[in-house]
């Protein structure tokens, strides 16, 4: 079974600074996907960024970027120019492809989350 570990229960950063959230995972799969999801205090979870394991290039979405180290099974999220609206719980998640009969489907496994607070 896959496990996802986020070792930082809480992080804080000043507005406009950079912060990095850590994530490690354990799997024997070679093909999989990694995600960072954001859950603001209103509790509606949204996707921040996605990384395919077969891609060596790190994914980037505006101020959000990842450092994907496949051999080390590490997947960290860097937030540049932090904004007050970035305050949220951040979840690292792992997805592998499974089969049920003739249907391929993805199953998400989440880490425990990191609460990020951006201070003005």
């Amino acid at each position: 079974a896959q496990t996802v570990t986020q070792s930082q229960p809480e992080m804080s950063v000043q507005e406009a600074e950079t912060v990095t959230l850590s994530c490690t995972y354990d799997t024997s799969e070679s093909n999989y996907y990694l995600f960072w999801y954001k859950q603001p205090p209103s509790r509606q979870m949204i996707l921040v960024i996605r990384q395919e394991a077969y891609k060596q290039q790190n994914a980037t979405e505006n101020r959000f970027s990842v450092n994907f180290q496949k051999a080390a099974k590490s997947f960290s999220l860097k937030i540049s120019d932090s904004q007050l609206g970035d305050t949220a719980m951040y979840f690292c998640a792992f997805m592998k492809r499974s089969w049920n009969g003739g249907t391929s489907y993805g199953k998400l496994t989440f880490g425990q989350g990191t609460i990020l607070t951006v201070h003005p």
């Binding site: 996802v4 996907y33 995600f35 209103s42 509790r43 509606q44 979870m45 949204i46 996707l47 996605r50 979840f91 998640a93 997805m95 499974s98 049920n100 249907t103 391929s104 489907y105 993805g106 199953k107 998400l108 496994t109 989440f110 880490g111 425990q112 989350g113």
Partner: protein, 114 residues
């Protein structure tokens, strides 16, 4: 485009009572997921539907939890009878199909069992 809708937003019940949660996915999304998120933990998948068929329910406690998506659109998750440890937020999510990477989450239902 309307998002994933869930109701009720909050529910308080006593142990051994039953409760039901409702979810309406984004229009056109074939895949629907129910997650349980216990305070301080990440969401855990309970059941995944593709249209009206179950794709994965390996983590659903079937002795007390049940879910259905009879017409392949909205879905109901039921707990009967509830235990104290069922206190959690129940999140519904949907995606275009089972092969989709991105899941869209609803606001959740916060259940408190006393």
């Amino acid at each position: 485009e309307a998002g994933v809708a869930q109701s009720p937003r909050y529910k308080i019940i006593e142990k051994r009572q039953s409760v039901a949660f409702w979810c309406n996915p984004i229009s056109g999304h074939a895949t629907l997921y129910w997650y349980q998120q216990i305070l301080g933990q990440g969401p855990k998948l309970l059941i995944q539907f593709q249209n009206n068929g179950v794709v994965d329910d390996s983590q659903l406690p079937k002795d007390r939890f049940s879910a259905e998506r009879l017409k392949g659109v909205d879905s109901t998750l039921k707990i009967q009878p509830a235990k104290l440890e069922d206190s959690a937020v129940y999140l519904c999510a949907s995606s275009l199909h089972t092969g989709s990477y991105e899941q869209y989450f609803g606001p959740g239902t916060r259940l408190t069992v006393t």
